[in-house]
Symmetry: C2
């Protein structure tokens, strides 16, 4: 069995699989690449995780995730920045262990408003400051920080970076090899500026990762878990994927699904179904 | 008892009150203005509603709502346009019956993707076409159509107009007295471009109504009902209200809350609490 040669499984899609299981079912489904999450990596320890990844033969596409650095100055902010530095080191180690074509990309979710704050503008400025603090570490480690704009329904509690244009504005102060953006269909499909901002991201050399999953209503009670298999919702993967291709992105494409039913399913079945959904909804637009 | 002289109660805030009750509790709370909804108006009939409004002494601020015209050509689209023409006539009649300072503003919610469609770009073009079809009727009736951008979490199922900038782009083809925009804090507070787009809306003479309510997480299971009293959430009414004032808006300010608990409460208590919340969170920024 083989899957699209550019498909990568983001580990969150099989959230409850441990690292060994995630690597095994992905490889067994003929999927050539995987994006990892920090928690399951650290459950086995970084060095062991790197050896397991190398043994799997899979390419490593992204490490998820850093960020959550919107707090004002103080010990909690310093701790968050230090944690991001550890995530940068993890990313470099895993990328070195992954197969040929692995990328050293750390996805950053900015974080929401601090408790009790209404200062969205200030929180966004602190994201810029945090990027400035972390960029030298990322550059030294050969890691690209990928700012991920999240859907505006998460603007208060999860990510004050809400559009691709805003993410590119934040990235503009930095070398594109050090700070790029994550283009995730779920978060940006609704944006009237999405196609022009994808083109801009390509021109500016900022597309660090392309992630896909689908949007469907009604939203579940926990809107965080409203991500679907590509093709099961209303997102036009044709126009978005062609825009990413025309913008010059030649890397792997991650499928990242947060959904209670998907998480409750057998991981081997989930990755097979992901490969099928990807082949139908995304692959035709990649060439 | 008196409330802010620019406060208007949007009737949806007391959704289960009939028209007579809505007018009575609003006037009794010392609130000088009201925005009406089509259903309770048509429950008593337009002429009766207009007389009741005139007798109440309240200013009439907006009629809610027209729109829902994203369907492709066919009888359903024609029916939607005809329904909007009736809404335009209702708006003109109610504005003529309202007190001095009443405005003839019809709020438009664009509608979502047609069932089975993934063509967001096409749906947005059909909104433009519908405005073109309705503008002559609005102009003849002396009614301003106010395009309301809705939060992007409603982009697929309720309104394909998702940002203030997009609404202004749609309005740009028309005279500002015929097509303007609704500036609603709940829908646009998250937008990194919100302040510059409010300023633009003022420069272009397009702010037809300013509506306020608050955003708070976690969102309820039905995200449509996640609107809160001003001050109960995270929206910075200071910066947004000052931007609207600096943009030259001198009209009334509606409070429009969709929330199960608010709707279950006594309408007289809801309008009093609305006046108090408005006085604390919004009034200080209006002068």
């Amino acid at each position: 069995m083989s899957a699209d040669p550019r498909l990568s499984i983001n580990q969150a899609t099989i959230k409850y699989a441990d690292l060994a299981t995630a690597l095994r079912v992905t490889a067994e489904a003929g999927i050539p690449a995987i994006g990892l999450w920090r928690e399951p990596v650290n459950d086995v320890g970084l060095d062991v995780a790197a050896r397991m990844l190398a043994d799997s033969g899979l390419r490593f596409t992204t490490h998820c995730r850093g960020g959550f650095f919107t707090l004002p100055d103080g010990p909690e902010r310093l701790a968050a920045l230090d944690d991001n530095r550890r995530a940068i080191e993890e990313t470099a180690t895993l990328a070195a262990a992954g197969g040929d074509g692995s990328t050293a990309v750390l996805v950053l979710v900015a974080g929401g408003l601090p408790a009790g704050s209404r200062d969205l503008v200030g929180a966004r400025e602190r994201v810029r400051d945090a990027l400035g603090a972390l960029a030298p570490d990322a550059e030294a480690a050969g890691v690209t920080l990928a700012i991920e704009p999240l859907h505006p329904m998460f603007a208060s509690d999860r990510a004050v970076v809400s559009t691709l244009g805003q993410a590119l504005d934040l990235a503009a102060d930095f070398d594109p090899h050090v700070v790029g953006v994550a283009v995730d269909t779920f978060h940006i499909w609704w944006d009237p500026q999405v196609l022009e901002q994808i083109a801009r991201a390509g021109r500016e050399g900022r597309i660090a990762t392309y992630q896909v999953c689908d949007w469907k209503t009604p939203l579940p009670a926990d809107v965080l878990l409203s991500r679907h298999y590509p093709g099961d919702g209303v997102i036009d993967f044709g126009s978005l994927t062609r825009a990413v291709v025309e913008a010059g992105y030649v890397g792997d494409v991650e499928v990242e699904i947060f959904h209670a039913d998907v998480w409750a399913d057998d991981p081997a079945r989930v990755v097979r179904r992901t490969a099928e959904a990807f082949a139908a909804a995304v692959s035709p637009h990649l060439s």
